[in-house]
Amino acid sequence: MRRSGLARAGLWMWVAGVLLFLFVPIITIVLFSFDASKIETWPIRSWTTHWYSVAFHDAQVRSSFLLSIKAATLATLIALLLGSLAAFGVHRARFFGRDSISLLLILPLALPGIITGVALNSAFQYVGIPLSLWTIVIGHATFCIVVVYNNVVARLRRTSSTLLEASADLGATGLQTLRYITLPTIATALVSGALLAFALSFDEVIVTTFTAGAQNTLPIWIFGAIRLGQQLPEVNAVVAFVLIIMFIPILIAARLTGSENVVRSAEPSRRT
């Protein structure tokens, strides 16, 4: 008994250590964004919100933020449509190659992003499509589809098919059933999937580098600015801002469909 108590205490210490490891970097980056000094050194001696105002008035930051929002919105819309269609198609249907579809959808997230990036770049160059907002959207939608798919499939698995049959038996048309039965049941799963897809797209840098050309999305601006190392206090503020603002959709999604679902949204397909 004493030994198991000791093991348990050790286990909880391990948990505390991992939690510390998970959160110290996030807290550090937020603290540094309020550092008044131009050179990052610990401990922080004086505090300021000046860098947030610098970032807010920076035209480059603004335009790249706007491009990120545009790309994420369009990619999310495509992912919503294609991801839920795939979920409805796979759900309950039993056919050969059904598991392969789930595997295919997760592939852009499970394979290194750089492969999707180089593949799309080769294809765009080969076909002669110039890089634009749309090439970014195509890349993002491809890896966002699975997030919506996972959310909708998880929800469909928990809803009974008798509801749809009852609706049809009572004479509802397919569209009526969709409007009054299907959409209300999957609504929160759709919203959650959309929020997560948006977050995934908004933050993406690896694929985007190969599909954006000379345009800057916000992550590409951040990446470039860190490498140049010339406006680091401002970068700190932008990075901390992105970090905090991204928690909003994630927490809403967790509220809507449960944390368990959100942590697994970017995972290989779960048994359906």
Binding site: F88, L105, R227
Partner: protein, 300 residues
């Protein structure tokens, strides 16, 4: 009493809905066509074009892509600095995967089997936030922690220990990668552990299995698929990353991702970049085939 067919009862059954409801194959085909078309036309076709591009070359005089098939790029990859870079990348990916597995397993176990409902929910959110937090922010944070004037050196100096000075080294890359992919390892292990019926653990104890025996003979084998699933992410994502080496790595931190990035974006050699991108694909396909054999996909 007569049974009135729905049609006769004055309600017109939409023939389209009726057909779709009855013929599942038709419904499935219609629903799956758009997403599958997207993946076929955009994703798989692009991958195919990339594979063909890897067999092309760049004409050194005109700097244009020459469409004559050649295995020249792969010869180039097999010689010079590339084998070292590939070896370094695979080694680092393996190291990161092992470190994450060690960190994640006890955490996931406590979360799945020991924590009360409320603590479990809190821990889930604690994994969820860093999992979905901004990728660049997470890497950037490690610069601030590991660099000379960073928080780690400061902590060590306060404790009177020698300064680790880990900034811009391969060790920094190892730490940063371990950090960013850790939640991807915790989640599937947690999922696998949570699904183990409590009766199995009781049976093991009843039959005289000590805690360690139960861990080795019951928990680990049943959690293995989850562990493999998590390792797909930690391994694969490390394999293709070029951002972490550029931001926290040092002089000898070039990974496959950097080689691809440099050849495509600064070197203007798309065919060589495409050939280099085939390397992680081959490694990952081998890895996925192995993972499928172990049943990693059934567990999730």
């Amino acid at each position: 009493m007569t049974v009135v067919a729905p049609e006769r009862a004055g309600r017109r059954v939409n023939p389209v809905s009726a057909a779709l409801l009855r013929r599942t194959w038709l419904r499935t085909t219609l629903l799956l066509s758009p997403p599958l078309a997207w993946f076929l036309v955009i994703y798989l076709a692009s991958l195919a074009i990339m594979l063909v591009t890897s067999l092309w070359s760049v004409n050194s005089f005109t700097q244009t892509v020459d469409h004559t098939l050649t295995t020249q790029n792969f010869h180039q990859i097999a010689t010079g600095a590339y084998p070292t870079i590939i070896g370094r990348t695979v080694l680092l990916a393996a190291l990161v995967t092992i470190t994450d597995a060690i960190l994640a397993f006890p955490f996931a176990y406590a979360m799945a089997r020991i924590a009360k409902r409320r603590t479990q929910r809190l821990l889930l959110v604690a994994v969820l936030l860093p999992l979905w937090a901004s990728y660049l922010a997470k890497i950037y944070a490690w610069i601030a922690i590991l660099e000379k004037g960073g928080t780690l050196n400061w902590t060590f100096s306060k404790l009177g220990l020698p300064l680790p000075n880990l900034g811009f080294t391969n060790a920094a890359m190892w730490i940063a990668f371990t950090y960013i992919w850790l939640p991807y390892m915790i989640v599937p292990i947690y999922g696998a552990l949570e699904r183990i019926p409590g009766s199995l653990l009781e049976a093991s104890a009843d039959l005289g299995g000590s805690g360690l025996t139960t861990l080795r003979r019951v928990l680990l084998p049943l959690a293995l698929p989850g562990l493999v699933a998590g390792s797909i992410f930690t391994f694969s994502l490390t394999l293709g990353d070029y951002v972490t080496p550029l931001l926290v790595g040092g002089a000898n931190s070039t990974l496959i991702g950097n080689a691809i990035y440099d050849n495509l974006l600064t070197g203007g050699n798309l065919p060589l970049a495409a050939a280099l991108a085939v390397v992680p694909i081959v490694i990952m396909v081998a890895y996925l085939v192995g993972a499928k054999r172990l049943g990693a996909f059934d567990a999730l």
